[in-house]
Symmetry: C2
Subunit: 337 residues, 2 copies
DNA sequence: CCGGCGTCCTACAACGTTATAGACTAATTG
DNA sequence: CAATTAGTCTATAACGTTGTAGGACGCCGG
């Protein structure tokens, strides 16, 4: 690793700048000089020192991605898409896990630890709209998710309200009127839970179905266990329902398991739809209807927009929404009524 | 971001080296000088430029992790554990996806692209034991997984053979003798599939049960769909079995779904065990018995060993095996016979 | 009263790269 | 034919940090 541009220059009998020029495809180089330099590079096994390069150029070619946890399937699949999108643009991705903890999230925004990167894709869970001013940072930052709207940065998000409305409408179109919801966050207005719940309510309203608060189960986290526990409680409460909307797939799968344990048939007794289009839902029994929130589009847009900011693009913050789709699978496959 | 150590030095009325000394906790600094420098740092909002630091010191504080795909739950959970382990040691993780493609894996080993890192944790899928010489690289490298054994680098792995033997023995202890296997790789000897299949065979032998090749389903990939397809074919083939060992949880879940569709009861008609201890198996219906391969231990060991190599530790390559555990859940909960 | 040592600090070089400015040739222009 | 221009290359100065070498001061023991 001790071979530097200097050694190459010496071997090829040129100046170091000429070697640098060859590496960076500078146009005015004679073919034979280029050839000689290339050979020297190859024979010495030279490769540029990226630290030096980034010191000089101020760019690292690395972007940061801060997510709650990779063990949550949604974020794992998001990270997958983002790494792929970044790769297409010649960027590497450094991943940071926040655990969804507000303090830790703020620390990441404030701290210079991730200086090894040119910018950050930030998917918060703990911070809320009141923390929006913390997003005023002096590095390129693109916000993901639905915790903060109208902040000072570019924001890529899914159409939460609309797509949740579509999910609910889908169940209604199957003739269901008592639609349970699993995964609400008490008092939340902004955030995935709040927005999706709003979509749910809007769909009910459109259909003239009264909202029944007993049909909404609140959870703190969105793990499988929370879906299971909520559904268990709801069954015990004795409230009647003929459909369920899981605010994400993981919750829906956890809840579905409890429904089945209780001997209820899906979709006949309870039609179910989730949200996220996780791979898992494709092979559960029954397969899970869901909302495809456009993860690929989100990833590509986010990386593109971040790269624009990194290369100096100025302008007001943009709000970008990905297109969604209702995916009907077995858990809600019923004749339309 | 334009504030450098120089500005701080100027503001505090000291030399730049003194500022550097303060930052690096050099012992011989008067308390009041330190104080003054700290104040200057705070008031200017200075933070060290990591590119410059790593140019000077030769260390980046970042390690690379190359895995097939984060959308495979096992690798997502592995990455999660590794990021946490790295964080405890003050390291950041840059993730690279290989897609399990041999050419791409070799490219990552050869290419200098990940020079932004001090070392690499490499979990291959495409390369095989014959490619072991490609692991002779001039940067710290720790191998994960079971594709290559006896290579020139440190290697952290799970006890594949032993734990697969234990999984099989577990089914046998429940009185099952016709144990199907899903996920074999035709002709493979080394690699997760090959080793686990060996463990399976060893357990049969120990119990005096003859090996029946019709009970082994081969797949290329280890996705849910492969498990489903294999099981469908096995059912169609008419071969009889009373238990199934999925060479990983994902396969087991896919296969379990098909068993249930076919009206078979788990564990009564077919007892099932998987491998990996994914979160999903905790909430499937029924919950999935599995092998906990010691992911946390693998992650911690791998990061520790890599860090040792980075800081110059010399010595022969080490083979390190994590401890495993059989996790009994509903899919195999039967009276022991 | 002097040499030596511990403490605190500074000046400057170095890490490996790219940017700037300019030197030199050969070709083209007015 | 002088003056420009295009093409090719080089010397040197940055980028922001840490390492090396050493200077200045005060205190101690002899």
């Amino acid at each position: 690793m001790a071979v530097t541009i200097k050694d190459v220059a010496l071997a090829a009998g040129v100046s170091i700048k000429t070697v640098s020029n060859v590496i960076n495809d500078y146009q005015y180089i004679r073919a034979d000089t280029k050839q000689r330099v290339m050979e020297a590079i190859a024979s010495l096994g030279y490769s540029p020192n990226l630290s030096a390069r980034s010191l000089r150029s101020g760019k690292t070619g690395v972007i940061g991605l801060a997510v709650p946890e990779l063990s949550l399937s949604y974020f794992a699949e998001l990270a997958d898409s983002i790494i792929k999108a970044a790769e297409e643009r010649g960027l590497k991705v450094l991943i940071e896990q926040t655990g969804g903890d507000r303090a830790r999230e703020l620390e990441i925004l404030a701290s210079p630890r991730l200086q090894m990167t040119d910018g950050l894709l930030f998917s918060p869970l703990g911070v809320s709209n009141e923390d929006a001013h913390h997003l005023n940072v002096n590095f390129p930052l693109v916000l993901l998710g639905e915790r903060i709207f109208g902040g000072p940065t570019d924001h890529v998000t899914m159409s939460n309200v609309e797509s949740a409305r579509a999910a609910t409408a889908h169940l209604i179109s199957k003739g269901r009127k008592r639609i349970a919801v699993v995964g609400g966050h008490e008092g939340e207005v902004i955030g995935s839970a709040g927005l999706r719940l709003r979509g749910y309510q809007e769909a009910l309203e459109e259909a003239g179905i009264p909202f029944d608060h007993r049909l909404v189960a609140y959870t703190t986290l969105w793990h499988r266990s929370n879906g299971a526990t909520s559904m268990r409680e709801m069954l015990e409460s004795g409230v009647e329902f003929d459909a369920m909307f899981g605010l994400n797939d993981t919750l829906a799968l956890g809840a579905m398991r409890v429904l089945q344990e209780a001997g209820l048939r899906i979709p006949d007794d309870v039609a179910v739809i989730g949200f996220d289009d996780l791979d898992e839902g494709r092979y559960s029994l029954p397969t899970l209807s869901t909302i495809d929130p456009g993860r690929g589009e989100i990833a590509e847009t986010a990386v593109r927009v971040l790269q624009e900011r990194i290369s100096g693009h100025d302008g007001p913050p943009r709000e970008l929404e990905a297109r969604f789709q209702v995916v009907e699978r077995e858990s809600s496959r019923l004749p339309t009524s």
